[in-house]
Symmetry: C2
Subunit: 144 residues, 2 copies
DNA sequence: ATAAATGCAAACGTTTTGCAGATCT
DNA sequence: AGATCTGCAAAACGTTTGCATTTAT
């Protein structure tokens, strides 16, 4: 929010620049439709821009996530995943291969209403991660 | 499952021993009611048994979690937390201090029924992590 | 006696950070 | 010009693992 004078009131976000690296990171996330990790993104970007560093990829994934241009999926016991943002949705994590998969389920707006006591914790959002086995790993297990 | 000869058929879990270290780790988790990390447990155990190593704490937290004697709470972007197991329940993670807190809400048995499509992913369980601010950090922010 | 468990140290995977230099605006 | 951004290397963080030794059974 800005004041009448145009000055920022607090926590002013610095202006951002358009660098090739940033563009390539965004392009990579958009091209990868399998919840890529930062390492996946790094690999794709490096194909076009071999000198990019991991730090730059991490930093850009961070600013893109803050801007809302990509969605960061924080996975318990695993690398963060990224997704080109559509709508809030849920994910499953395969206990065999560690892969992350979309779970199509309506956004649970009524969850908060079911909270009995949060002990002073102010709830601002939620994440649901399903535990299970992905199609490929299930098939592999079937084969023995 | 065992055969008539007493041999294990598959994936035999090895017999476990009762070591002081294991007992101390369990005792520590039971004494700490604030979702301790492995580091917290390590600190408590080391007070009584200074020579214990971090590796032993990790290994014992692992076997105790597998046995169901403690509950492991896997937190996105943070160290695992442990809890003396009561019932499946949910947690909030403070976006300010990173602390983990219980959220009292009935177990959502009907979640699965709301899944529209899991794209071949076999769901075996779920975890809900609320995002928000804990009471202490909220109070601190209020004070400015 | 034997297999499990320990302690140590080193390695691991992921992410962050300090800093000098390059680059966008 | 000036701040942002980059690349590099190092460090931070949480956790796992190899190995020789100890210990419970």
């Amino acid at each position: 929010m800005s004041t009448a004078t145009g000055k920022r009131t607090s926590a002013a976000a610095p202006p951002t620049r358009n660098t090739i690296q940033r563009a390539l990171v965004l392009e990579a996330v958009r091209s990868l439709h399998n919840h890529p990790t930062s390492a996946d993104v790094y690999d794709v970007v490096r194909a076009k821009h071999p000198n990019i560093s991991r730090a730059t990829v991490y930093r850009n994934l961070g600013v893109l996530a803050n801007r809302g241009e990509v969605l960061r999926v924080e996975v318990p016991n695993g690398a963060d995943r990224y997704d080109f943002f559509n709508e809030p949705h849920y994910h499953g994590k395969c206990r065999v291969c560690g892969g992350v998969f979309d779970i199509d389920m309506p956004y649970q707006e009524n969850l908060l209403a079911q909270v009995v006591d949060s002990y002073g914790f102010t709830i601002e959002g939620h994440e649901i991660i399903f535990d299970g086995v992905c199609a490929d790993c299930r098939a592999a297990a079937q084969r023995g």
